[in-house]
């Protein structure tokens, strides 16, 4: 089985225009992944499947990751007029790094008899943001096994897969509007009665109790 670095090199040699980046994993597992540019993702995926050397013909798993926006505080030196004298003042500037949603695919080759122990080839794709630019190309036309899992990602994370043959919710009902696996999801408050409340549920149960007695 080829390493992720080798696969990136093979893709770049075969498809010079394709956007492929290596995302290193510094942990002991060293399970590096390939970040695909959504524009060329379908072409790269077809190449990975059809190339006789790689022959990644089996997509075993597709899932989503939510990366919410991060607030980063930075110290910046600014020149300011203090009592009529120009002085250099250090100021803390906060900026929000926008979040994004990510789709992750795990690939194996049945032809080359990849083993679970060697780990999958991991593909990632990232959306523009978490609100309105959530489209990603569907890889279902390349690996049919991704169909239900992409529907699940659409249902629980809200990534819209363009080119998917049947993009509907799969676990929640059609009228449902939220995406429960997002980090900022708030579940409905139906904790009226809790025999042994604790942590977050204790706070909610006490708030409900205060409301009921008021």
């Amino acid at each position: 089985m080829k390493t992720a670095e080798e696969i990136v090199a093979i893709i770049k040699a075969a498809l010079p225009d394709a956007g492929v980046e290596l995302v290193p994993n510094p942990s002991p597992s060293a399970q590096h992944s390939l970040l695909l540019d959504p524009k060329s993702a379908v072409a790269v995926a077809s190449f990975l499947r059809d190339d006789s050397e790689l022959a990644l013909d089996f997509c075993s798993n597709a899932t989503g990751v939510d990366w919410p926006g991060k607030e980063i505080a930075e110290k910046v030196k600014v020149t300011k007029l203090v009592d009529g004298v120009e002085t250099i003042v250090e100021e803390t500037v906060k900026r929000v790094e926008p979040g994004y949603l990510e789709a992750v695919y795990h690939l194996y080759s049945v032809k080359h008899a990849h083993r679970e122990i060697a780990g999958p080839v991991v593909l990632r794709m990232r959306t523009g943001n978490r609100a309105d630019r959530v489209q990603l190309p569907s890889l279902t036309p390349v690996w049919r096994s991704a169909e239900f899992q992409e529907r699940e990602i659409f249902d629980l994370f809200g990534i819209v897969f363009t080119g998917h043959p049947d993009l509907r919710r799969i676990l929640m009902w059609d009228e449902f509007e939220d995406h429960p696996m997002r980090r900022d999801y708030v579940d409905p408050d139906d904790y009226e009665y809790e025999p042994t409340p604790h942590d977050e549920v204790l706070k909610r149960a006490e708030a409900n109790k205060a409301e009921a007695t008021a």
Binding site: L171, F176, E177, P188, D190, Y191, P197, E206, K209, T213
Partner: protein
């Protein structure tokens, strides 16, 4: 008018059989409770085991699992009720003819169980339909289901046929149709049927945390 048990035994020895209408009516009801063939999750496997040769639910007159709610008397809620499934469960209950009974089997059916704080699981089916017997367990063993069944039989046996405690099918005023919840944008609407599941009285702080 009930016959004294001692007198009944004495008369029995003499070859005289004495009973009352309510006794024979309830005896008939409790020994032919036909469950609905209906499983929701892993508890259903235990329910199936209960009906098989080793545990043999047929001994209690309940071997006939009907595949239609129109022919069934007992609904065994065997497993997790998801919010997507809950309207269908209530609809099936509405389609059953009186007299009808409900056993909530397992931690999920009675409270949501290990999935209680999930976004997709109903926190107990007793929020929408009246439950006769609750069985704890994850999943409960077949013996527990048999015990629940015997509890239900004792409950049927003790029911008077007249007065305020009479069964629902002998009460013309009783409510027979339970509202089916709608699947809304964020949760089921309404989240609970207050007629079936009234808000518990507020417990003084600290009392329930021991």
């Amino acid at each position: 008018m009930a016959v004294e048990p001692d007198l009944k035994i004495e008369l029995g020895k003499q070859g005289v059989f004495v009973t009352t209408v309510s006794e024979i009516y309830n005896w008939g009801r409790k020994n032919s409770v036909w469950p609905m063939q209906f499983g929701l999750a892993c508890c259903a496997i235990e329910m199936i085991a209960t009906t098989m040769a080793r545990y043999d639910l047929a001994r209690f007159g309940a071997e006939v699992f009907r595949p239609s709610p129109r022919q069934a008397d007992l609904m065994i809620i065997s497993g997790t009720v998801t919010k997507k499934m809950a309207p269908q469960v209530v609809r099936l209950y509405n389609q059953m003819a009186e007299p009808r009974y409900v056993i909530a089997m397992g931690a999920c059916a009675i409270s949501g169980g290990p999935f209680k704080q999930g976004y997709n699981v109903l926190k107990g089916i007793d929020r929408y339909i009246p439950v006769d017997v609750h069985i704890p367990g994850c999943p409960p063993r077949p013996e527990a289901l048999i015990h629940a069944f015997m509890t239900l039989q004792a409950k049927i046996d003790a029911q008077p046929l007249t007065g305020a405690e009479r069964p629902r099918h002998l009460d013309a005023e009783a409510q027979g149709l339970f509202p089916v919840p709608e699947q809304g944008a964020h949760d089921l609407v309404p989240p609970v049927n207050r007629l079936v599941w009234p808000l518990p009285a507020p417990v003084p702080s600290g009392e329930n945390c021991g």
